[in-house]
Symmetry: C2
Subunit: 207 residues, 2 copies
């Protein structure tokens, strides 16, 4: 179902018949280039060449490089939210829920490393107000889901009466800072480190 | 004691008689500009204008913008290391030592916000091998000091037999991730959040 080229802005759903899953392929290749060379170091022509299409074909889906960049951010947050949400849907209790949240977050990070890096680097500099609103909503939902797990644990008597916001922020800080030192495919899975963090958070230091 | 202009590379200690503490003033102003406008968005001319000197005066101290950037990173790490080291020199035990390490790190971050931001953003992209070695040494010493506190706590029986590397990484992740959400002078001190994290780390979640 190709979109008409006379439209001022191409619809994001538009797909010309010649490229299968074109939008996702553009975002995948662009994420890889952005993660490797940064936003400034990546041109729209390079993205097109990587996908194997013309720049005109790219413009069918995205008006400019910045929109591709921001679409990667939103798609990554959507994927993270969906994946972690599914992983924590059924658990035996608060401890398992926290463990699943943390390991699923880390698994998604490792398996979508390029997009995740782009998301963490680019989040603060987004410009499209619609995309910003989408990204904020997804980020807030993700953080809220974590706070629910902690609050449930306190309500059920499994966790101490800790401050929920501080605890949620601590967990996400540990997971997100992985982007600064963890490299995928170089030994242990990110989820194994996340489980270590989870055990530490649960048990605490004090003897 | 002005340096001779015939030297291939100006010595870092060199000070022309007209600017008091010139090197520090250049780094202070440059850090503010880098933190606000980024590395690419800041020119050497803007740095000179901010300090109130000519570009030639800047070249007396630094051969180019990149060297200024990397000098900020090294100076920030030096300051952090010194400040936290002093704060943890005398403590009543492992719990207080951990608390002092975390709150001092957070205080230094808040009080040297521009330099800290520049350091965290720029650390991975350093190019000068001498500066890289200095920065790595300081970072490693800082991390090592934290690991010592944790290992001492275990040895003295105050802390559980946790994994020292994981715990150190968790603590630094929480502290460093503050750069992503904390803004100085907008309410609570960074050190108050750091103390919350410390309490959480000490006590753990499990009831």
């Amino acid at each position: 179902m190709p979109e008409s080229n006379t439209e001022a802005k191409p619809k994001r759903q538009g797909r010309p018949p010649t490229i299968e899953n074109a939008r996702d392929r553009i975002l995948d290749d662009a994420a890889r280039l952005f993660a490797r060379d940064g936003y400034d170091g990546t041109s729209l022509g390079e993205i097109a060449a990587s996908v194997g299409v013309t720049k005109a074909a790219i413009y069918h889906y995205f008006p400019n490089k910045k929109e591709i960049y921001e679409a990667i951010i939103v798609r990554t947050l959507e994927g993270l939210r969906r994946y972690v949400s599914q992983a924590t849907a059924e658990t035996s209790g608060p401890e398992e829920a926290l463990s699943r949240f943390m390991t699923a977050h880390a698994d998604f990070f490792e398996d979508h490393y390029d997009g995740f890096l782009t998301m963490l680097v680019g989040y603060g500099g987004m410009e499209n107000v619609v995309m910003i609103a989408e990204a904020q909503k997804l980020r807030d939902e993700h953080e809220q889901a974590l706070r629910h797990i902690i609050a449930d644990g306190i309500a059920q008597g499994a966790f101490r009466a800790v401050d929920v916001d501080t605890t949620g922020r601590a967990v996400l800080s540990m997971l997100n800072w992985m982007v600064r030192w963890f490299k995928p495919g170089k030994g242990r899975r990110a989820a194994a480190f996340a489980q270590d963090y989870c055990d530490l958070m649960l048990g605490g230091l004090r003897r």
